[in-house]
Symmetry: D3
Subunit: 293 residues, 6 copies
Amino acid sequence: MTNITSSIHEKLWTNAKFLGFDASFDEASVVVFGVPFDGTTSNRPGTRFSTSAMRPESYGLETYSPLLDLDTGDVAIADMGEVSLNLGNTQLVLNQIQAVVADVLSANKKPLMIGGEHLVSLPALKAVYEKYPDVHIIHLDAHTDLADMLSGEKYSHGTFMRRAYEFLGEGRIYQFGLRSGCREEFNIPGVYQEKFDITTTGEIIKQLSGKNVYVTIDVDVLDPSIMPGTGTLEAGGITYRQLEKFFLELKNSDMNIVGADIVELSPPYDNSGSSTATACKILREISLILANK
Amino acid sequence: MTNITSSIHEKLWTNAKFLGFDASFDEASVVVFGVPFDGTTSNRPGTRFSTSAMRPESYGLETYSPLLDLDTGDVAIADMGEVSLNLGNTQLVLNQIQAVVADVLSANKKPLMIGGEHLVSLPALKAVYEKYPDVHIIHLDAHTDLADMLSGEKYSHGTFMRRAYEFLGEGRIYQFGLRSGCREEFNIPGVYQEKFDITTTGEIIKQLSGKNVYVTIDVDVLDPSIMPGTGTLEAGGITYRQLEKFFLELKNSDMNIVGADIVELSPPYDNSGSSTATACKILREISLILANK
Amino acid sequence: MTNITSSIHEKLWTNAKFLGFDASFDEASVVVFGVPFDGTTSNRPGTRFSTSAMRPESYGLETYSPLLDLDTGDVAIADMGEVSLNLGNTQLVLNQIQAVVADVLSANKKPLMIGGEHLVSLPALKAVYEKYPDVHIIHLDAHTDLADMLSGEKYSHGTFMRRAYEFLGEGRIYQFGLRSGCREEFNIPGVYQEKFDITTTGEIIKQLSGKNVYVTIDVDVLDPSIMPGTGTLEAGGITYRQLEKFFLELKNSDMNIVGADIVELSPPYDNSGSSTATACKILREISLILANK
Amino acid sequence: MTNITSSIHEKLWTNAKFLGFDASFDEASVVVFGVPFDGTTSNRPGTRFSTSAMRPESYGLETYSPLLDLDTGDVAIADMGEVSLNLGNTQLVLNQIQAVVADVLSANKKPLMIGGEHLVSLPALKAVYEKYPDVHIIHLDAHTDLADMLSGEKYSHGTFMRRAYEFLGEGRIYQFGLRSGCREEFNIPGVYQEKFDITTTGEIIKQLSGKNVYVTIDVDVLDPSIMPGTGTLEAGGITYRQLEKFFLELKNSDMNIVGADIVELSPPYDNSGSSTATACKILREISLILANK
Amino acid sequence: MTNITSSIHEKLWTNAKFLGFDASFDEASVVVFGVPFDGTTSNRPGTRFSTSAMRPESYGLETYSPLLDLDTGDVAIADMGEVSLNLGNTQLVLNQIQAVVADVLSANKKPLMIGGEHLVSLPALKAVYEKYPDVHIIHLDAHTDLADMLSGEKYSHGTFMRRAYEFLGEGRIYQFGLRSGCREEFNIPGVYQEKFDITTTGEIIKQLSGKNVYVTIDVDVLDPSIMPGTGTLEAGGITYRQLEKFFLELKNSDMNIVGADIVELSPPYDNSGSSTATACKILREISLILANK
Amino acid sequence: MTNITSSIHEKLWTNAKFLGFDASFDEASVVVFGVPFDGTTSNRPGTRFSTSAMRPESYGLETYSPLLDLDTGDVAIADMGEVSLNLGNTQLVLNQIQAVVADVLSANKKPLMIGGEHLVSLPALKAVYEKYPDVHIIHLDAHTDLADMLSGEKYSHGTFMRRAYEFLGEGRIYQFGLRSGCREEFNIPGVYQEKFDITTTGEIIKQLSGKNVYVTIDVDVLDPSIMPGTGTLEAGGITYRQLEKFFLELKNSDMNIVGADIVELSPPYDNSGSSTATACKILREISLILANK
């Protein structure tokens, strides 16, 4: 029987990698990593479990995307696992994430970060901004995340884009799918906001031709029917089909997409596993887009 | 440290109110209350738990509605809690609900009732009819609820509108989103019925300009994808986006909306909490519409 | 009190039949039966429980379909229960299913089979092909199921249509709603494939006028928002409304529909019961179409 | 292939019977039937679904009981399905149940009823009392069910034993495992009550040697750890091992057990299926005891 | 009908109070309040939802405790709702909790705090210590919570008792039910530790006769079979019956119990509701003990 | 900020290893691996997901066992991930598992296999038997697994021990905790069987002093209250405390434990995560025992 399996070293494997992303850091053009932080979540916590749920779930997905006509087997993507974070200290966590993103960028690779809550995008934006001071942000979300304070705190999943706005300035942030916020958040000068839908992404993406762009996707931009596993549910979201149109627009654009993140999946709130499977599919499509541009 | 919090009386609060509706009965123009009755539910019971699930869930919602551009902070709404009901006696329960609705109406306030099963709308309609004999009913539902008998009973969630029809008469009931019933229920003279969709609400609302109107929303008008937490599931329902169009039509109408109810949420059947969150959002929009008309 | 219920024989009943399908085999024009097999399921097993979950759930459905304006009370349908299968032996199971379908067809009745995983359709197609060598297949699915091998096996839920293609030949298979597969599966000669949607069913159904047609519906053609209870989740599916359009096309067609199946419902993955309820509704519509053509 | 399965009539079957109880009414010594009524449930409803969940679950059980060294294959038990009940009318339901139990008793068979809520035991006790005016009751329950009124009603799952006490009189009721009730319910003259445990069942069973005895088991006598799927949870219950000791005492007793019931399983509150599986095992043991005495 | 219900003011009520604890602050001898904080939870968060789940669940409980032969209707307990906390700032939250507990103590009432994670006990212990410098602590828990640091932080649910030890000193802390911790945590001088069980509570309670004692109960001291709804699961815990023995020891002791807390219930992880119901029962027993000593 | 985190290579990690078992194959004395096979499961499938659920869950556990006073940080254990299996072909899967176990044994290391269904133990026993022809088996299980055939198949989770008995012979198999099987399975000559409990493990372990022993633990030996997440539920099982006694007996024995396995965890059936957490704790204790003997 030894001719069936000659050695344990050859025949064991672990499903520790998203979608079989097994390129080394050096080989990869896109670097995927998880940041399991949900320390400022004001409603339902649990995004800390997103990556540990997504990795095994991702094995149900094909490597080929019929939508994009691209295959992850044709590109080099590294899954570097989770960033080691001092979870009890928000400021230190933000510094740790920023250092990792800066490290990926300095190696001339594209970061693809999996949250965690949306505050984790702030240090990513900071690192990207330091390398690309002219960066523009495409932001899909149910919430503006432009509050100045939340529960008395400046650094929160509900304020992160306000903090980013303070260093990015006007004319840099493009928000889509918004359907929640206080009145003030819908009146910030120099922020593009499409409420309720994402019908104008195509037009904006054309405007941003040739520019450096970072894409941040809060999965709650999707309707809760398809994405119940998230922290703050807002009915009236977009369908996955609408998101697919956006993916095609990204693929066909002339922007320089310098990085991206996918945040706010909270697996414990969807026992069916459907939210996690959908997040995995988004990850596949975004990683293919990043790797092929 | 005593300067941080000077007294327990100032620093404690309870989340006993929907959406922070803390006006007193006297101050309020809209009076919200729960009727946790599901005694005739023929399929999956549990609507008795709707309000106890909705109150804490409602704290995840903003007070501001981007759809309506209105804020619950600008209006006076009272959450009076649950009506005390003799749950084992259906006729007595109906009488108790009718008395409460009559009481709210006699104070020239608008009742906004949270079910419970749909039978609770019958006494509300009776009380409204007694004050406004010319009242018209806008009824969103997957089911016609026009059966004459259900399980051998005259008073049931599946017959309530037939009983109301008996005193309201023809030309008063407008039903939308219907997709279940026996053949006879789709052939009641003098009842307007839009099957499968709610595309004609705008037209009907225009026809009802200037009239007294009561609105009753069975959450199962929504597709089970967005509202699995209800008693009787019927695929093929409307999306939340379609409901939003209806809300705008209500807001912009010239009808005199004299009251409303939202019924048939059954939280135990949706562990994700999404159905409950969606019901809370419907409550916010309807309460804002009632308070601003 | 004996006048209330004269005898236990008259007053007891079991809910062992789908939707009250209580015709005998001889009386029936349509024969419904379950094949609780999920032995080759590569991702989330559980379709073996579909029929035991569907039967009690089906009692929440009306016998009347407003969509089709047909009532199961007007037709003769037999629910023959589950086929007795040697579950541990895939080849024997396939033989057993084929024999049952052949038996139904030889009695000049229409088989309506409830899976189980999609591999169960292969022996059904074989039996249908033996009686109707010119049969055409309408196949709704998220996946092409045209792989040559899966996990090293030739007979699998992901390869069943490839095996059928080997005896049916080109020009016989029409697939709709596809959104997953490897690149090769989207390039099989002589297989009609509509990706992502089912907008062309009407046109194809017209082309197939007068022909013998078998319809196989994998419930995962629906979006996971409405059908989370299935083995392999693929976001971007069709809505139930789109399926209703297809049902009307079937009802109004001139095809000779010789049989059908509904497969891949996995109840353990949807605790809300919504997936099961939706599968029951599909069963009602399909059984009405078969019985009325 | 036709030699594998010669005819559909021979090879199809339904899992409509508990544990394969397929004796006819006439053949059987024990008659099992379900009464899916939960109309007066004051806390969490859902016992109406007990039998439809138990039947398919029961197929995971062996027919042989190692505890009792008895096998259901050696005895004749009929599963007559569910009693047809007018669910909206409590008094009529009680009459219907009483008539069925009387019918079974008049055929000199032993009724084994599956609830439903505990109120269904009242008409069973009435029917048993009419045939055996000297009957004694062994009652396992977390609750005394001896309240005079509940929610203003005389007939309720919380008052049923008080109603039975009114016709049975003192010295007939033996309660075990009690751990909830108001103070008055623990001071009813002539009712034997063991609080918190069932250590005295053996002694009482000896006292009842030679007597006619009816056994009613509310599954909530078990600790919620093993039986979360019930309407009213009370920590501090007995273990299944303790229940097994009771089963052995029943098997070895000299009482004439004239009937029994098992009530208050509410499957929707235990998604693991464990509560339902445990109820099935209790059903197997009790049916074996009844059939072998 | 107006004689049925004369006024809405009389007939409406809310279930905002635990177990009907409706005494005012001034009337009460025991003051119950929630602290919905889980900011340092290292494993599964969600204790922030404990009180909003417990309040409605508590209505399934009787006011009478057969175990203690006491009734909450005979004592004056105030449920003051949740403490308003700045959730994003751990140090500020600790200060806010300490101020509230101090406020209750200064009014010569007994605080009964409902967590939240176990770190909330630290400020309670501080406030108690300031009033009663000789206070002793009875601590039931699966974990020692005596780590010096967790995830690099000094203030955490896993370190809170180490911080308390620093001001309480040796000979004051008595731990029971411990079954998790690193080796060092089991070797802290001057801390009494019973591993795996709570058999010595009776003896220790006798030793503490006449002393001021604070009781802190982490619900994870119970076995996960009865308490799956908690953050960090440790098999091998005590049964609820063992906890009942402890309650009787407390009731019959001569200690001066100056306050208590019940922490670490995380409702989202137990969809059956059983964990929440059990926590409510613990709350009833502890509040009765505090109010009757 | 670069001094915080100098390089992504140093700061990223994956939680791909059970309990941090990061020794290499060559360093390790114990080799852990998963065999995610559930192809013959007759009731509820899902054990294929055990290891992907256990790995992330295991991070909630301490490395130190207070029970055994041992720490995984002090020993060298390798987690080699999952064995790559041809899941559609049972015989090939069995060969693949046997080859892996033989490979581990030939390197003079101890295999610790995580199932998967119990059939996976058969090839492990075969490989162990080939190296140690005198091996004795300690088997904890609710079921005897001694049937000759199941669903017409010889190789099944319900027959595996019968197949092993055929080559091991009499006097080698010691079963504990049995409470399900057909009558014949309790009468196999030369198999030691303790029904219902595990009180005699200590005595048997003494008898086996000095002998080569393999330990196979089906988690369903535990009561469903603590282990609902398994395929076939049998009430009346042992408590975790009883299992702890067994662990101490193993630790203190003089047997040569040559390998072990832990099988039948089915995570999808316990949404609370408690079953998975308990399985992880069993894994920690067994791995510590193997590594320290």
